[in-house]
């Protein structure tokens, strides 16, 4: 049962934080384009222009405040970036040119700068993506992609994926329970065949479910297209509001490039 605080019960809906804000009201495709363009302005900024990244971070904090997305939602989701943080931390140990002594370690200056660049750009990117998913329901995000002329078939596949994530992962969980109720404990590589057997069964069940879903859809008149239930009208004002984000980002990036040339 979905708790009263979650809207809908698919995975994407759980990422969505329901609020009434300017950011939430913007059509999905407008927000997606604005966020992707903003991230591109961030990644084209030279890493030695520290002030630029402070401004980008401030802008994202501003978006979060405007959308009333609390830090306790954003921070835990940032854990996805941990593996590449480790990679960025390795950077200072490589690289040629002048070195600096930090706490008795000889570090490459260029490496430090590159590591910092990867870290800060990756973090800003992750926060941007989190803000996008937190202010836009998953289904709207995909419908927005369709309005951006992303092929309908691709969007449909993504829609099916979202719709059935819980069905399939529940199925996987039931198989795990079944294995364990028969006394199975995964101990090492020797237990791989058993786990893979469940994987094979999961594939067959998923595939057959796909076939049944297809037949059910055919019997309801499916011809390869899904009807559009909601019509969204995107105004020039929406684009103007949203694109202010990457436009400011571009101004910062160009200034940074000009100063750092």
């Amino acid at each position: 049962m979905p708790s009263p605080h979650t809207h809908g019960h698919d995975v994407g809906e759980r990422l969505f934080v329901h609020r009434h804000s300017v950011i939430h009201r913007l059509p999905a495709e407008v927000k997606t384009v604005a966020m992707v363009a903003f991230i591109f302005t961030v990644i084209m900024t030279p890493p030695n222009q520290f002030w630029a990244f402070a401004l980008y971070a401030l802008i994202l904090v501003g978006v979060a405040v405007l959308a009333r997305i609390p830090a306790r939602v954003i921070l835990p989701r940032m854990l996805v970036e941990v593996p590449f943080v480790l990679f960025a931390l390795l950077m200072p140990f490589f690289g040629t040119g002048p070195t600096v002594e930090v706490l008795g370690l000889t570090l490459s200056q260029a490496g430090l700068l590159a590591g910092w660049g990867i870290l800060v750009k990756g973090t800003l990117g992750v926060v941007s993506s989190i803000l996008l998913a937190a202010t836009t329901p998953a289904r709207d995000l995909l419908m927005g992609l369709e309005r951006l002329k992303v092929p309908e078939l691709l969007v449909q596949i993504a829609n099916f994926m979202l719709r059935y994530i819980h069905v399939v992962s529940d199925e996987m969980h039931r198989m795990k329970l079944a294995r364990e109720s028969r006394g199975f404990t995964a101990t090492g590589i020797r237990s791989w065949p058993i786990i893979a057997q469940s994987g094979g069964a999961l594939f067959i069940r998923s595939y057959e479910r796909g076939e049944r879903v297809h037949l059910a859809m055919l019997s309801r008149g499916y011809t390869g297209r899904l009807p559009q239930l909601a019509t969204v009208t995107t105004t020039a004002g929406d684009w103007f509001t949203a694109m202010s984000l990457p436009v400011v980002g571009l101004l910062i990036a160009l200034t940074a490039l000009w100063i750092g040339r």
Partner: protein, 244 residues
């Protein structure tokens, strides 16, 4: 708490790792790749494409969450590129993996939004092409039986991981923002990913083997090599000419 030895995240390129022009060109290449796959999948599956590729995308996503214990509390999991193409063909398989990457990037902030083209090329396209060619090449050479299909699936899974890592190295060489020399990156990435590839190959082989046992007709990679089975209800018996 288990430590993930082969974490899918380690393969997802974040924002800022590869420069903007390279990332943008990668988006264009990925779009072309997806267009080819959409076309190919439609020919293979017709209007079944969306529900089937969708459910297989969920399957791959779920398989990536299935832990395979290695030793000392570490475990690995599948990346799934080779498995997808062996089971549902190169076009639909690449499409399913690409959708998984798209959804992971767009919803879970897993892999940068600006790097989505790069990630789709490395894990969706390169893996599909290499995995399919290796599997089909071997199957044509050695024939179809459960051990042979599993051996081919093992090699396909094994090869896709370091090749995918090489695709990353190429992108890093073209537009990498790091200072680690390309030769070091190549050495480290390929070395580590051969090890990961062995795990990937084993899981792929075991899973394909399980499907082969129960429903060989669902292994698309051998769909044209299975003996055609005709529905025979009973052997025709010569009917007596006249009632006796």
């Amino acid at each position: 708490m288990q430590i993930q030895l082969m974490q899918v995240h380690t393969m997802h390129i974040p924002d800022g790792f590869i420069n903007a022009p390279t990332s943008a060109v990668a988006v264009v290449i990925a779009v072309i790749g997806i267009a080819i796959c959409l076309n190919g999948a439609r020919k293979q599956l017709d209007e079944k494409t969306a529900p089937l590729a969708g459910l297989v995308a969920v399957f791959i996503f779920a398989m990536q969450m299935l832990n395979f214990p290695v030793a000392l509390g570490t475990s690995g999991h599948l990346l799934g590129g080779a498995l997808a193409v062996i089971l549902i063909g190169p076009y639909a398989g690449a499409l399913a993996v690409s959708v998984v990457i798209l959804v992971q990037g767009l919803l879970f902030a897993d892999g940068g939004l600006s790097a989505i083209g790069l990630n789709i090329i490395n894990m969706g396209m390169v893996t599909a092409v290499v995995g399919w060619l290796v599997f089909r090449g071997l199957i044509k050479g050695i024939g179809v039986s459960r051990p042979k299909v599993m051996a081919a699936a093992f090699l396909a899974g094994l090869v896709t991981v370091p090749v995918s890592a090489l695709a990353f190295v190429l992108e890093y060489a073209i537009g990498g923002t790091g200072t680690v020399p390309v030769s070091t990156v190549t050495f480290a990435m390929v070395g580590v990913h051969i090890l990961i590839g062995i795990g990937e190959g084993l899981i792929t082989a075991l899973t394909v083997g399980a499907v082969f046992l129960a429903r060989p007709d669902l292994v698309y990679g051998i769909h044209d090599r299975l003996p055609k089975k005709l529905l025979v209800t009973s052997t025709p018996v010569a009917t007596p000419a006249n009632g006796s």
